[in-house]
Symmetry: C2
Subunit: 405 residues, 2 copies
């Protein structure tokens, strides 16, 4: 939620849904800029703010939102009641700043719904078993919303965001990108993990785990737009694979520039080498994404992996400082000017030649592929990041995504 | 607490007390301006914000403060842990925006103190039996501090504020005003209720109820000042009446310009008339302060009382709209250009002629007294508010308050 005016618009939209006979639970995020303001205050006191205390502070952003939204609803005659995470309670583990929801008690929420109230639950936050306030990390409000929907067995979870749905790719890169009216959960999961910023991956995982039908809608439309028109917009994340979906081989192109590639050259090719290299990296709390180990040549192999660009230098330090002396490779070569481009589609399961078309398309554009990683429904490549937009546009066209479905 | 710099100063001061071997619980207020900012947001949505939701929002100000102070302490090597009111818990009744503390659980606090931590408890807030967040109203942080001190049976409650103690009167009105090093609890209670803004009256009541030795100190001194020097500053509110205190007949002059006087002329002088007049006023949630009923003349009497100037118009509406038609008085006359000036002193108990000296002093200055109200240790008068400063200065001198004790 942004300004007071946006809070009023949320209230109008909620009132519209309620007037249509629905029971509504709303999970607002903090007002825009608020979370950053709070973290900024913390950083003025501690370079690495204490995680428990940071959560104590950060959780207040959503607590303010829920109270304000309740007021906005009451101001237009809709009875409403707000709850902080601990009041529901939304129980989490104790991993401050990135806690995971373990359970949500639906008793208070149901009692209020039955009493005819709109219930407003603070997103992004919970409480651990010892009664400490926790937060779920960035994008946690989406996860909270899906988790509350799951706990209540809701008919649908509507996620209002600043885009109006999931696109075949980012329209800022490919103007011909089309909005998908439906996407499968598995595809959405890949899109989220591959750099599409529509939904936080953890909220998609949650939707999948509890099979919550989730719809991405725009928060920027007129809040008083007719309900059926509102439902026709956006993208529904579904768990049923219908024919229409299978007809599309590839649903979308995802990409991310937050990549860096690291290769340890000529390490001894023996059992346990992967762990010897990646163990210290994981111990330094660095997430590794793609991993490729090349064919052994003369008893040594080249071992490559990618990390988030922000953790590039940290990873290099670990490799040069700890790994290389221990495993005895020749040297570490690295490149933080790479990007990841991925094609995603549930249809890849039953169609052959999808990856080939991707490689052919990139080849025809003269784009060298540095690493490849595949799963059942996606193929990702690492290429020089100067080719990113070109690669995305070429693939979008090659897979016919610019054609109406 | 004001800015980040002030939070750092609080941390330095706390560290100093702890280094001297004390166990410390800190009850910070919100950062300056924060509570007003939050209430402002609420008012943009509802002219009369829903009290439950207002407390939900307002309580976040102190929640941010406690987290930030914990970080500031950790940053200088002092282990600390913060708690929101509900985490302690600080239990209150359900009177949103003006809740009263019913109990404070000392278990978590004591466990942390025993573990060598500084404990930081959010002031101004609590939780009711149903788990709703409540706030204590303006100045509630002082009350929280005293209540926590009482629950822990603390050696002393130190209230750091933007003045360095309790003065014989407001130094802005009388430059000769002197700081009192000691004041009795009863005198402090009268001073607080009569307009001295050093401490909120409810915090003084709490200190009295649980006999918590409470010291008012300046938050603006150098935080690293020597401890014994710091203790020599400020004012101690004590429960022991020593000789020195009895020697002073009057300890201070309090005053308030927030007054308005209302008189109902020629009401029938019959039993129940006071209730007929003040009942509807109380029902409209208007606090009445002084009440005077004059001698009956020919079966009618004039009935006067004072209200807070902010509630003047509301009170007039009640009287003209409801009371006058019902009780049949002649008319309502009113004046919101009055002030209250009071002398306060525990020595008044055992000294005669104190009120007379007050009346004589005002008479010599040509100040007409409109209403008089007395208690065991104070005498208050209502006078035209243009005489306020003159009355305070004359009384300050007449009772020898400008002389060193």
């Amino acid at each position: 939620m942004g300004s007071i005016e946006r809070i009023k618009n949320v209230a109008r939209r909620v009132a519209k849904w309620r007037a249509a006979g629905h029971q509504i639970v709303v999970v607002p995020s903090a007002m825009s800029g608020e979370t950053n303001r709070l973290i900024g205050l913390a950083r003025e006191l501690q370079e690495q703010p204490d995680p428990r205390e940071l959560d104590m502070i950060a959780a207040t952003g959503e607590q303010v939102s829920v109270g304000l939204l309740a007021m906005a609803l009451k101001a237009i005659g809709v009875d409403a009641r707000s709850y902080a995470g601990w009041q529901v309670p939304v129980r989490t583990d104790s991993s401050y700043t990135k806690a995971r929801i373990s359970s949500i008690d639906d008793q208070r929420i149901r009692a209020d719904l039955d009493a005819g109230r709109v219930v407003i639950v603070a997103g992004f936050q919970g409480v651990d078993d010892a009664g400490n306030i926790t937060t779920l990390g960035r994008g946690g409000s989406d996860t909270s919303a899906v988790a509350v929907a799951a706990a209540l067995n809701a008919a649908e979870c509507l996620i209002y965001t600043d885009v109006d749905g999931v696109y075949t790719t980012d329209p800022r890169v490919v103007p011909e990108a089309r909005r998908l009216s439906v996407i499968s959960f598995e595809e959405m999961l890949e899109m989220a993990s591959l750099g599409s910023k529509v939904l936080q991956i953890r909220s998609v995982e949650f939707a999948g785990k509890y099979r919550v039908p989730t719809r991405v809608l725009s928060s920027l439309t007129d809040p008083l737009i007719a309900l059926d028109e509102e439902m026709k917009s956006g993208t529904l994340i579904t768990f049923e694979e219908d024919e229409k979906m299978e007809s599309a081989v590839v649903s979308g192109i995802a990409f991310s520039r937050d990549e860096a590639k690291i290769t340890v050259l000529a390490v001894p090719d023996k059992p346990g080498i992967a762990y010897s290299i990646l163990g210290p990296v994981a111990a330094a709390n660095i997430d590794v994404d793609m991993i490729v180990q090349n064919q052994s040549v003369a008893g040594t192999t080249d071992f490559s992996f990618t990390v988030h660009r922000n953790e590039f230098q940290k990873a290099l330090d670990v490799l040069n400082g700890q790994v290389l002396p221990a495993v005895g490779g020749r040297e570490v070569v690295a490149d933080n000017k790479v990007c990841k481009v991925s094609i995603v589609g549930i249809g890849m399961r039953s169609h052959v030649g999808v990856a080939s078309l991707m490689f052919k398309t990139l080849s025809e554009e003269g784009i060298n592929i540095q690493m490849i990683s595949t799963s059942e429904i996606k193929t990702s490549v690492i290429v020089d990041d100067k080719y990113m937009e070109l690669a995305v546009r070429a693939l979008h066209k090659a897979f016919g995504l610019d054609q109406a479905a």
